[in-house]
């Protein structure tokens, strides 16, 4: 069975909130699994439905979208993003991809605990899916 450290969890962060939030975790020297890959973006609203599906198909085990939530500086972007993620869940079901491999959440610049919790939960989700598939 795969270790959580060998997973490839893609963490999509925003320039204004969650990317600095991930830095805060680092400054506090809090430890988490190296199976995590953080990319930054002005706003995740720019990713099409297919980006998530294709990334999961390519070999990404789980995607956490850490949005800016109510701190989002772009008009209407958060509503569009959450509508899109709901649609992607629909397509994931059609394709037989467990929907818990994609999570939309909000992480702020100092949300250390929330950041770590999301990673832990995603690891558990991915590993339990893998175990279920193997069984």
């Amino acid at each position: 069975m795969r270790s959580e450290d060998d997973l490839k969890i893609l963490i999509i962060t925003t320039l204004i909130s969650s990317y600095p939030g991930a830095n805060t975790v680092g400054q506090a020297r809090l430890q988490y699994s190296p199976g995590t890959y953080i990319i930054r973006v002005p706003d995740p609203v720019m990713f099409p439905d297919d980006f998530y599906i294709q990334s999961l198909k390519k070999g990404i085990d789980g995607i956490i979208v850490m949005s800016s939530g109510s701190d989002c500086p772009y008009e209407g972007a958060y509503a569009r993003l959450s509508a899109r993620i709901s649609r992607v869940y629909g397509r994931m079901k059609e394709l037989g991809i467990p929907t818990n491999r994609l999570k939309l959440t909000t992480v702020c610049t100092v949300c250390k605990a929330a950041f770590l919790k999301e990673i832990r939960e995603m690891q558990q989700a991915v590993l339990s899916d893998a175990a279920a598939a193997a069984a």
Partner: protein, 443 residues
């Protein structure tokens, strides 16, 4: 800046790099004026950067303050001096000269890479003033997570001179013998945006502030509520228990002639309501009660915020709190006189009490006249009376904004700061027009 003789020329000297000082500096620098921004603390960001969330938007304070701090720190038109105090300001032929003293951090700032290895190596713990004594920090430390600049400060009082930090430092930037440095700033105009202190915890002895461990100041509660706070949760300092019942005592430091603070501090109603809402989010089963005289939710969106808090089940009780005592388990017994029921005085128990302290000026002009401004009876800087010019002081060319001129919330301080920047810019323009030879003399 001429580092050899410690002189700097700037269009405007801004004193204080809290949110008002940052805003005033940015509003000047973005217009092309050069700014010398002076902050006596090791980080810019003032009180706001260490709040949990702000009313009425419930935005994370750090998330909205940090970008503004970074803009000011990186702005090509702003020279930033932290750990620096203004000793004197005097008028010159064409403006002002200010003498500053930069206190030693015992770090060579230009070599520090902000890695905190010194902090890890240090074995001396002292109470953390940014957590208002609730947490601990090292004797050498970067003041708080999102401090700007990210340089540590060596606490001269606490340091044991063991040298562990110097050994750990990859760039050998620790300098135990660093001396204070004098800097002279020539400026055409000055903006004063000095900050506030809370009224003392122990000002009203009958409330037990500073004595009972579970009587907190509002800034301590801000830290407990912050996601990067000292305990990572809201817990009672006395025993680490999750509180089930929390009380706010409003006007615990304002509207009280006996304290010499007869005025309203403007922010206490709103921060209490905000904290109550955040508490009811993180402690859903806790009872939260606010004892108040008048709820002053006067700003944009504030009344709606207040009504939401009432709808959420926060108890608002119009009552005077006569005194607080503590039982053997450090629970707090509040003797209150309800004004809305006609029943006599009663005693109610709470696990945790927050005293909604008021605002007093952190800096006042001193009689020596080194900074020749005048304060009013309330201790804040005296303004001319006309509402047309909200930022003039008693000294021509010196402007004031933010809580330097009386209690204000963040948005009012920011608006005030922008106006001060405009007034200073126009003063600089007038100076240039009357002395055309000097036009363009700035960097």
């Amino acid at each position: 800046m001429d580092p050899e003789n410690g002189r700097l020329q700037a269009d405007v000297l801004v004193v204080g790099a809290g949110i008002a000082g940052l805003q005033a500096s940015l509003d000047l620098a973005d217009q092309g004026y050069s700014v010398a921004l002076v902050e006596r603390q090791p980080s810019i960001g003032g009180t706001m950067i260490n709040l949990s969330k702000v009313f009425p938007t419930l935005d994370c304070a750090s998330c909205i303050t940090t970008p503004r701090m970074a803009s000011a720190a990186h702005h090509p038109n702003i020279d930033l001096f932290t750990m620096t105090e203004v000793q004197a300001i005097s008028r010159t032929d064409d403006g002002f000269e200010a003498s500053l003293v930069k206190k030693p951090r015992f770090i060579e700032e230009d070599q520090c890479i902000g890695c905190r290895r010194c902090e890890e190596a240090c074995s001396v713990f002292v109470p953390d003033e940014y957590d208002h004594g609730l947490g601990a920090r090292k004797a050498i430390s970067i003041p708080f997570t999102n401090a700007i600049p990210q340089y540590p400060v060596l606490d001269e009082e606490a340091c044991m001179l063991c040298g562990a930090c110097a050994k750990a430092c990859p760039t050998q930037c620790i300098n135990f013998v660093q001396e204070p440095r004098s800097i002279a700033v020539e400026a055409k105009a000055v903006i004063v945006t000095t900050c506030f202190d809370l009224t003392p915890m122990d000002a009203k002895k009958e409330y037990g502030g500073g004595i009972y461990p579970n009587v907190l100041s509002p800034l301590q509660m801000e830290r407990l509520l912050a996601p990067h706070g000292p305990y990572g949760a809201v817990l009672r300092p006395s025993d680490g228990k999750t509180p089930d019942s929390i009380a706010y005592v409003q006007c615990a430091g304002s509207r009280d002639l006996s304290l010499g603070v007869p005025y309203c501090s403007r922010v206490c109603c709103m921060y209490a309501i905000k904290q109550a809402m955040l508490l009811s989010g993180s402690l859903p089963i806790a009872d939260i009660t606010i004892y108040y005289m008048d709820i002053r939710a006067f700003g944009k969106g504030y009344e709606q915020f207040y009504q939401n808090a009432r709808a959420m089940g926060i108890n608002f009780v119009k009552a005077k709190v006569a005194r607080i005592r503590e039982d053997e388990d450090h629970n707090l017994l509040l003797r209150i006189e309800r004004q809305d029921t006609g029943e006599g005085p009663e005693e109610v128990q709470h696990d945790l009490v927050v005293l909604s302290l008021g605002m007093v000026p952190a800096w006042k002009p001193t009689p020596d006249g080194m900074i020749p401004l005048q304060a009013d009876g309330d201790g804040f800087l005296r303004l001319p009376q006309s509402p047309l010019w909200p930022n003039l002081t008693t000294m021509d060319g010196v402007f004031a904004a933010g809580v330097a001129t009386g209690p204000k919330d963040i948005v009012d301080a920011i608006t005030d700061a922008g106006a001060a920047a405009m007034a200073a810019a126009n003063y600089v323009e007038r100076a240039r027009r009357s002395a055309p030879a000097l036009a363009g003399a700035t960097r």
